[in-house]
């Protein structure tokens, strides 16, 4: 009954001040929604282990992550198998390799589609714990049979390419123009391990080599025995590896020296390279959101504290009348409980809306590539609900505690005697100062990081990639392996592929609306990933001191198609193809470098004619390549990406690649150019596929979309933080000054000039600012250093954030001090003294 009275009393107090109630509820709602959204996103993206309905989580065993390349080191399946056979902690393990392939109906080339195909060990579905909807799973005998490969289709591919044919099981379809038999169809939504659409069995020879070799590219997915932790397995893995790698032949000896281990075990979700690479960004985001939650709590607590200061006489009267302390605390908690509960009810709606936007953004990002891991679809879960309940509880405790503490710390006798405007006790004053300093520090961290990320993202979008993208169409062209296989010997196969690519270029360039055509392994603005290289005669003593470059291959006469210019030397020509053939026998090949590389590495000039080669830490190096020309600068990879480098080397498209990116400079209508490209490919080779046809502008924008959508969260967080900081610092400062109104009046009565009173408060505010800003900037610097591991932080944004945000906060605090002090000074001292 007494609780009901307290609730009604709290509700009445809230209704009496609707603006205050609305403001605090809005702050709580936004704070909780942002936390809920980020928690759900991060949990589903990274932190919640992937179990697929089983008791133990899935883990990945893969090579070392190469930060410079943005991918994991390829690993030798020989070691993976040895680990599996010797481990006592692994319950099951299966090997796989993800690839992009063409799949179509037998005898119907037009049905060929690019799909994400995963080559798998026979027990992959057993490890996943999911069985086919139709047909059967792979069996060990499928792996032994090298003459007839078998595949399992995803539900989506079965419906889309094979029109849901009920008789699909046993039928022969084409993968890369090679016939394979369908043995099963998986249930809807199953895309394990990441984005698989078709699963094809790998051969025993590939899976279980008898000795170590340089073949690689496989990854392992595994489950640990019940009760075994990842840390325990990581320890076992390190021990087993140490034993395995000690007796390797000299050429593989480097495997024993890989920092962190040649093979590493990580939670399965972190096997997605882009997530692993941006892990620190995600952790930073989580930290920033937690800071916002804390800021929200302090803010609402401060607002409630200001209210308590207004009601302190009521509280004192209650204490004087013998109301127990516990009851008083409960009364105060009810007010914050009501606010936090309403916020907690509204927050999921706001978070859900945010998730819908994120899902839409991801749909857009992966519309072309289809490379979206299957768990990257976000929705509120039971875990989210628990988190929300926890956050609401935490908020109630913090926001209720601050005012309750203030009320019960007061000198009841003094309050009853002097009224609400009694001088602020030293202890309460110190707590007020600490709260203001926390607000300053927290808002500084959040805003600095938000500005850095937003600025970097904007800079990346506005970056000059050194190419012209208008009226340029891009696409990825794939040749079916079955039609260009090596069975005629590599030079013949290369000639055949060469004939296709240059035949397509000639055919398109004859069209009236096509100006020129070029091929790039990765077009400027995309790709990225760097390697070390050395200049002949200038090798660094330590491998890692060698410069890094991005190496791409291009077709002859490619530059003008993307608006690049040849600045020195010559372009590739037909004679280079002959040299290129010799390169395969170790005689070297031509390379063209970009202007920045020529300028910075050959400052005396004379880059043309120098020799250069790529190398890695494991002792591998390419053949020497001779610099034959210098082209204008372009940037490969998004400028935000830490794997991007200002140095680029271009080799002649040697046609060992099965796919190239085509860029078509057209005039007139884009749709017409697209149709022409598709038709030309069909005319030349019906088994070849073209996909991801889009404008060059869209292509460049695509890698930034993910970071852009993450940045939107930071921007939202930054705006919330700015609002919280502005309102919180002002409320806190105004409250603190109001509580000292009698002191101000006394000082004025004693003849202290008004400007000295203002100066006194400014001085105190500056001390708080200094402490808060130093703490905030230090934390922000640490966080930005973490971010710099994963992305390029734009230097202008860095400076703007580190100077602008503290400057903004200084203005905010000075304003929050000046306004309430000026308000006090507007009144005659007698007014404040009269309120004794």
């Amino acid at each position: 009954m007494s609780a009901w009275i307290d609730i009604r009393y709290a509700a009445r107090l809230l209704l009496k001040k609707p603006l205050f109630t609305l403001t605090t509820t809005a702050i709580v709602t936004v704070g909780l929604a942002l936390t809920l959204y980020t928690f759900t996103l991060m949990q589903q993206l990274v932190f919640k282990p992937l179990t697929l309905g089983q008791d133990t989580p899935l883990i990945a065993i893969a090579g070392e992550f190469k930060a410079a390349h943005g991918v994991r080191q390829r690993v030798d399946p020989y070691h993976l198998n040895r680990i599996q056979s010797h481990s006592t902690l692994l319950q099951s393990m299966s090997l796989y390799q993800s690839a992009v392939r063409t799949v179509g109906q037998q005898g119907n080339e037009a049905s060929s589609h690019k799909v994400h195909l995963t080559y798998v060990q026979w027990d992959i579905f057993e490890v996943a714990g999911v069985q086919p909807l139709l047909g059967r799973s792979f069996s060990p005998s499928d792996q032994q049979n090298e003459s007839q490969s078998v595949v399992v289709l995803s539900y989506d591919i079965w419906q889309r390419i094979f029109a849901g044919n009920e008789d699909i099981i046993g039928q022969v379809v084409q993968v890369e123009a090679i016939p394979v038999q369908v043995i099963g169809v998986m249930p809807p939504g199953f895309a394990f391990p990441t984005q698989a659409q078709v699963w094809q069995i790998m051969t025993q020879t590939r899976l279980e080599p008898a000795s170590p070799s340089n073949s690689g590219g496989l990854q392992a997915v595994a489950r640990l025995r019940p009760g075994v932790t990842l840390a325990q397995f990581q320890h076992e893995l390190a021990t087993l590896l140490q034993r395995q790698l000690q007796a390797l032949p000299q050429e593989f000896a480097w495997r024993a020296d890989v920092a962190g281990g040649y093979l590493q075990a990580v939670p399965f979700k972190l096997s997605v390279d882009v997530l692993y690479q941006h892990y620190s960004v995600l952790v930073a985001m989580m930290l920033v959101v937690l800071l916002i939650l804390l800021l929200t709590c302090i803010n609402v607590g401060n607002l409630l504290l200001a209210r308590v200061n207004e009601q302190i006489r009521d509280v004192a009267i209650r204490v004087a009348l013998g109301v127990p302390q516990r009851r008083l605390i409960l009364q105060m908690l009810w007010e914050s409980t009501l606010i936090c509960c309403v916020g907690g009810i509204l927050a999921p709606g706001l978070a859900h809306w945010g998730m819908m936007l994120t899902n839409q953004a991801l749909n857009e990002i992966f519309a072309m590539s289809g490379a979206r891991p299957f768990w990257w679809t976000f929705s509120l879960s039971l875990d989210s609900v628990w988190m929300l309940l926890g956050a609401v509880l935490l908020m109630i405790l913090i926001t209720g505690f601050i005012p309750a503490w203030r009320a019960l710390q007061g000198d009841i006798n003094g309050i009853l005697r002097d009224g609400t405007r009694g001088a602020l006790s030293q202890r309460a004053g110190r707590v007020n100062q600490a709260l203001v300093m926390s607000e300053i520090a927290l808002s500084c961290v959040v805003l600095v990081i938000a500005v850095m990320l937003l600025g970097s993202s904007v800079a990346a979008q506005q970056a000059d990639y050194g190419v012209q993208t208008e009226q340029r169409l891009t696409a990825s062209v794939r040749l079916a392996w079955g039609s260009y296989r090596w069975n005629g010997g590599e030079p013949q196969a290369r000639k055949k592929r060469n004939d296709f690519y240059y035949g397509l270029k000639d055919k398109l360039e004859q069209l009236p609306n096509v100006r020129s055509v070029a091929y790039f392994s990765s077009l400027p603005g995309t790709g990225g990933g760097t390697s070390h290289f050395e200049i002949q005669g200038q090798a660094a003593a330590v491998f890692s001191d060698n410069p890094m470059w991005n190496f791409e291959v291009v077709s002859r006469g490619a530059w003008h198609t993307v608006g690049m210019q040849l600045l020195a030397g010559r372009d590739f020509n037909l004679t280079d193809l002959a040299i290129d053939s010799r390169e395969l026998r170790g005689s070297g090949s031509p390379v063209i470098i970009n202007a920045a590389m020529a300028r910075e590495l050959f400052p005396q000039g004379g880059a043309v004619g120098q020799r250069i080669r790529t190398l890695d830490g494991e002792g591998w190096h390419s053949e020497w390549r001779t610099i034959v020309g210098v082209v204008s600068d372009s940037i490969h990879g998004p400028t935000l990406d830490s794997t991007s480098t200002p140095y680029t080397g271009y080799g002649l498209m040697d046609l060992r690649s099965w796919w190239m990116n085509i860029v078509v400079h057209y005039s007139g209508d884009e749709a017409q150019a697209m149709a022409a490209l598709q038709q030309a490919i069909i005319d030349l080779d019906a088994d070849a596929t073209v996909h991801q046809i889009q404008s060059y502008q869209s292509l460049i924008k695509q890698p930034l979309l993910l970071i852009e959508s993450l940045n939107q969260v930071f921007v939202a967080g930054g705006l919330v933080a700015l609002f919280l900081a502005a309102s919180g610092i002002y409320a806190m400062s105004a409250n603190s000054i109001a509580m000292r109104s009698q002191e101000i009046a006394t000082r004025r009565a004693l003849g202290v000039p008004d400007k000295h009173v203002v100066g006194l408060f400014i001085k105190q505010a500056l001390v708080q600012l200094a402490v808060g800003l130093v703490a905030g900037v230090l934390v922000a610097l640490w966080l930005s250093a973490q971010l710099a591991n994963a992305m390029v932080v734009d230097s202008h944004s860095y400076i703007l954030a580190l100077l602008g945000i503290p400057g903004l906060i200084v203005m905010l605090v000075l304003l929050a001090t000046l306004l309430p002090v000026s308000r006090q000074l507007k009144h005659a001292p007698a007014e404040a003294l009269r309120q004794d």
Partner: protein, 242 residues
Amino acid sequence: MSAQQQNSRLVELAQLNKVFVSDDVETWALNNINVQIAKGEYLAITGPSGCGKSTLLAQLGLLDTPSGGTYRLAGHDTSQIDKNERSRIRNKEIGFIFQSFNLISALSVADNVALPLSYRADLSRTQQRERVLAALEQVEMTHRASHFPAQLSGGQQQRVAIARAIAGQPAIILADEPTGNLDSNNARIVMSLIDTLHQQGATICMVTHDMSSAQRTERIIAMKDGVIVSDSPTSLRTAVAV
């Protein structure tokens, strides 16, 4: 009025009014007040709650501006001076003793006493220190110089407030119910101190509704509803009462 009397006048209020306006309702807190206070005078302003005595004291202390009339302090018309000059006059010429002491909790006893002196350009640091010590000695609070207000009793706090009021050697000391928050013993001590100050030549104007305190003064001004209803020497009132 003789020239000597004219010169000895410290305070002259002529037809002074103070009107508070709230929700279109005018409240005449002071209505046509005419008062003169001579140097060295010791007077009390009395009257029931809400009669306007504290408002009058605020006017005398330049803590508020009048709605009408004139106030001359030491021959200077205060209606013509700006905020800064009012501050300077308060700082140098007026000493305040408040009912609720109004010591600044974050400052020590010595710093509280030194506060008004620290804005006096005519006093060196040494002089300020000497005045603080002298004032504390006079109220017998030297031994508590480094303590903070919260560590003192009510009587001790008021003695510190008196030290603060006299440290600057002001032309007039304004005391607003100086014993209002004190027990009888402490009230007696405080009143003795104020009496002593008067005996040493200080001009003291005290607002009180405690008649026993008022009767210690030389002159009593009685107010009601913002108007002075009587202004007579204490001896006369005592005689009438007798």
